[in-house]
């Protein structure tokens, strides 16, 4: 198998990896905020429902969650069956939204009370204080921990292979087992390094952009 043929197959797997990565981010970033609002709710039952949910999702392996989302509905006789890729993406979005929500919560709680009070005495509504005063400061504070999660997400996409979604690692493994070649595995490593390298540069750029003010 030539280098070009291997590249073409891996590139195919990489597209799936990229898709899982992109859709998960787009879905989990806003869903995480919703979970944060729930877990910070003043209504105790709502707060606890969200807290328990986050505990379950963070406390069990993502691999298990993927398997459950894919096989669960059919085996429980719910009459729905997700496409493999859809199941993977669903599990990823829910899982990552929970991690993000905890990062958001930490960020929101780190904003000094004085910022809220300043907004209050100026007659702002709660929503105005959140969106016009607090949110941006939260974003600035959470970029580094979010960066960590996002880089982990790049590599976690390889878990999709557990339900036979052919992402990057699975694509390489197919070649390795069929053609008895070892080097495609190293080649795959290079794909990930390049990907995480670009993500790191983007995150550094964002961090720098947000650094126009202190505090």
């Amino acid at each position: 198998m030539s280098f070009l043929e291997v590249t073409a197959q891996l590139a195919n797997g990489f597209l799936t990896t990229l898709l899982i990565f992109g859709v998960t981010l787009v879905g989990a970033i806003p869903l995480g905020l919703l979970i944060t609002l729930g877990s910070m709710s003043k209504v105790q039952p709502i707060k606890w429902i969200f807290k328990v949910f986050v505990w379950i999702i963070r406390g069990t392996p993502l691999m298990l969650q993927i398997i459950l989302v894919f096989y669960g509905p059919g085996l429980m006789g719910l009459g729905v069956k997700f496409d493999r890729l859809v199941a993977v993406i669903l599990a990823f979005i829910i899982n990552y939204a929970c991690y993000f929500s905890e990062i958001y919560r930490g960020g929101i709680e780190s904003i000094p009370r004085g910022q809220y009070e300043a907004g209050q005495v100026l007659g702002m509504t709660k929503a105005q204080i959140f969106f016009k005063v607090v949110l941006f400061q939260v974003v600035k504070r959470i970029v580094p921990p979010m960066g960590n999660e996002i880089i982990t997400l790049v590599k976690d996409t390889s878990l999709a292979r557990v339900i036979a979604v052919v992402e990057l690692v699975k694509a390489a493994e197919n070649i390795v087992s069929l053609k008895s070649l070892i080097w495609p595995l190293f080649y795959v490593g290079a794909f990930y390094l390049l990907f995480t390298g670009i993500v790191t540069l983007l995150l550094n750029y964002a961090e720098k952009k947000l650094n126009y003010y202190q505090g």
Binding site: A118, G123, V133, K140, G215
Partner: protein, 264 residues
């Protein structure tokens, strides 16, 4: 008729009674200084006036109209409207760090006039309002001596400058009574002067103000009336001459003696 009438304000946090029945009145254009040692309840009193704390009992009357009664139920919106009668300048400034000086001053007036308008405003009307507010903000910032710093961020300013921005921001909402919570306590000694000068200018312009402060000299020279608080009650009330010159209460005398010791 008194501009502000505060009646029987009680406030407890858990088991601690912080305010044990506060009554006072103040006239329009008056500057009222509230002094007292830490923990005497003076900051809590100020926060009650700004509805950052809700009194357990008591009432607040402004221009003859009762705006707050602890027995009443108020919606968020009502509290917001009532709160706008009072402005508050914090000890730690609490400027919005991500916005320029000008934006810090314009933000709240813009939100109030645009988002809380009864009908949907056209883009043109919005721009018109924004321009008006910005022009007014520039004027206020110039009056506190910050015309050169409009486009700077708070982190680029000294503490004294930040506090003057905070004063401008409060003034932009046109409060009836402007409150200061130890406005110079977080400042280096050489920076307190510029903030006190601004407060003095506001007094000369006839602004009604309540000033919680540790600056005894300033309270004496700038205030029309002085309240000395101790253990959640008003221990002494009167003109600066009365309170500083011939205090009647034991607690006032001992507090003033200690304050003077610190100076020398």
């Amino acid at each position: 008729m008194a501009l502000l009438e505060v009646n029987g304000i009680f406030k407890r946090f858990g088991k601690t009674e912080v305010l044990k029945g506060i009554d006072f009145t103040m006239e329009k254009g008056e500057v009222l200084a509230i002094i007292g040692s830490s923990g005497s309840g003076k900051t809590t009193l100020l926060r009650c006036l700004n509805f950052l704390e809700t009194p357990d009992s008591g009432s607040i009357t402004l221009s003859g109209q009762e705006i707050y009664n602890a027995q009443g139920k108020y919606t968020d919106r009502e509290i917001r409207e009532k709160r706008l009668n009072f402005g508050l300048v914090f000890q730690s400034f609490n400027l919005f760090p991500q916005y320029t000086v000008l934006r810090n001053v314009c933000l709240a007036p813009e939100l109030m006039r645009i988002n809380q308008s009864e009908r949907k405003l056209s883009r043109q009307e919005k721009n018109q309002i924004k321009q008006e507010i910005e022009a007014q903000a520039r004027e206020i910032l110039t009056s506190v001596g910050l015309s050169e710093k409009l486009m700077n961020y708070p982190c680029e300013l000294s503490g004294g400058q930040q506090q003057r921005v905070a004063i401008a921001r409060a003034l932009a909402m046109e409060p009836v009574i402007l409150c200061f919570d130890e406005p110079t306590s977080a400042l280096d000694p050489e920076l307190t002067g510029e903030v006190l000068r601004v407060i003095k200018e506001l007094k000369d312009a006839g602004r009604t103000m309540i000033l919680v402060t540790h600056e005894m000299g300033f309270a004496r020279s700038a205030a029309d009336k002085v309240i000395f608080m101790a253990d959640g009650v008003i221990e002494e009330y009167g003109t600066p001459e009365e309170v500083f010159g011939s205090p009647k209460s034991e607690k006032t005398i001992s507090f003033l003696e200690k304050s003077l010791e610190n100076i020398t």
